[in-house]
Symmetry: C2
């Protein structure tokens, strides 16, 4: 395991020798492919990141495994994949792929790979803000025992915006602590309020958690009108995408001390050293690590193996977020 070494563009055969491989897949992350090999997935693999010199065999690739974090495929490389049928992401977020999606290609996301992990971090961030962990850590550094009366989750109205795997887990955890949670999804359904209900819901929302896809409809959803509608002392937590929040409006509310924020994602990202968010009062920033835990790879391999078997067997794919226009 050496995720830091230089990218080595080459073809890797993961199938048994002599097996008839009808499927060629392409991707930038050799560890993921080794994981597939260990699970016995029967396919040819071409290692490529979309940026470096294109290797031989690339034109046969029908599925792209887009990689994650420091090993991601550059969408500009898609033009070199004429037979591509499926792009499989490891991330839950997929907005950056929509403009680049070739006609007729299916886009599937990594729902489930990072869900529990991202939910954990959201709850960690909200709890740290509510219970004053940054204060106690700085007191600990000074060897000071300084108990304070702080708030708690119990009884606080939570607005969980995003009702997928991540949002549902966050809601369940906060309900264990006695918080009434209102789930909000893009479309209203049983147990889930529609996003059009936000104007009525925001004035009672003491904690707002964002775990929804970034789309043209959710771009800067949390703008100055949204933030102004929240009650004093509200907490905003974002584990989705930075651009769902209007950063300038958030900075202005943080500066006024009216609200607190936990941000695992920011706009821009990475956040440059001179950005005012770093030094705002009442903000905790983590560097987009919601899903990037040690164990994501084994969950990703399990998802891809399942998906490739579905593809080979002509069964419906899972996690499809954008069917190609040919569908």
């Amino acid at each position: 395991m050496s995720p830091e070494r230089a990218f080595d563009s080459k073809a890797v055969t993961v199938s048994e020798p002599g097996a008839a491989n009808e499927l060629t897949i392409c991707g930038p992350d050799e560890e993921l492919l080794r994981g597939l090999q260990k699970r016995g997935v029967n396919c040819e693999v071409v290692l490529w990141d979309g940026r470096s010199e294109p290797p031989a065999g690339l034109e046969a690739a029908r599925v792209l495994i887009a990689g994650y974090a420091d090993k991601t495929f550059a969408p500009s490389g898609l033009v070199r994949l004429p037979r591509l049928e499926v792009i499989q992401l490891i991330s839950a977020g997929y907005d950056e792929w929509l403009p680049a999606l070739p006609e007729g290609v299916v886009l599937a996301n990594g729902r489930g790979v990072h869900g529990a992990s991202t939910a954990e971090l959201a709850v960690a961030g909200v709890l740290a803000l509510v219970r004053g962990l940054p204060f106690y850590l700085s007191e600990q550094a000074a060897h000071r025992w300084s108990p304070q009366h702080r708030g708690e989750i119990a009884g606080r109205n939570v607005l969980m915006i995003g009702s997928g795997d991540i949002g549902t887990r966050i809601a369940q955890a906060l309900e264990v602590f006695g918080a009434p949670v209102t789930l909000v999804g893009r479309k209203a359904r049983a147990g889930v309020a529609g996003i059009e209900s936000l104007p009525e819901l925001l004035p009672q929302a003491e904690i707002v958690v964002l775990a929804l896809p970034h789309t043209p409809q959710t771009d800067q959803l949390v703008d100055r009108h949204f933030l102004s509608a929240l009650p004093d002392g509200a907490i905003v937590a974002n584990v989705a995408r930075g651009r769902i929040i209007d950063t300038a409006a958030l900075v202005s509310h943080l500066r006024a001390g009216r609200i607190s924020a936990f941000l695992d994602v920011t706009d821009p990202e990475p956040l440059p050293p001179e950005h005012p968010l770093w030094a705002m009062p009442n903000v905790i920033i983590t560097p987009h690590v919601g899903g990037g835990t040690e164990r994501w790879r084994e969950r990703a391999v399990a998802l891809i193996a399942d998906q490739l078997e579905r593809f080979i067997d002509h069964r419906p794919l899972i996690n499809v977020v954008a069917p190609g226009s040919g569908d």
Copy 2:
């Protein structure tokens, strides 16, 4: 609301004028008594902390509301309460009251007042350790975006020692994140392992959370044998009482870097500035604030009001932890 002002020893009548009050209660916390007054509880109240000059009317007191945090009754004052029948604590822990408990007096604890709040803090501390929040907070202070691969709760074996209100809530929250949790109680029962099973359970315990009463049997339960039995990288979280852990043994394991700890309670308490625990690697210390949130008072008032109504109506009391020897 001025919890810091000097203690003012005086009698307060919370009943309606002219009502026949058969019951007199005594306690050090005027705010709690005002809360009872607002709820219409029908009794005479004598304010006393057990330390200052005993006020008039004290000898009539049949129930003591022992107070919490900076407003607690000194057990040495019990000799001035000849008609005492019930001591109602606000805390879940009650071990310090057992040696002082007069014959025939019932001791009831504050189970439920701090449960959700303490469970929250335990989960906050474990999540902060697992997800590396202290590291990210120090990076934030330096305006640095430094993503790291860290562990997660999902899939980690959790040993939840303590199967009451607090322990059950912690278990539920960690299960939402995909951790298999084994509940351990003082006695084995359905779904709960007995404390005698610890030798078999410890070698698989990646996260150990302590939320059990401190008694002679649990004093220094977590000693060097206990700690040595844990796997490398294990986390120990204590939201119960400091003396359940052998602090010297813990310091030695922390120093070796083999385990991490979240401690809301310590031995001694408060932890003096020169104590080695403050500067140990991989430790997060909060100053016994598990239950001391802003909203504990309203839950305490609700519990006491219920308890006093039971007492007046001769119905069984709740939360009884030590019946007097006359029972």
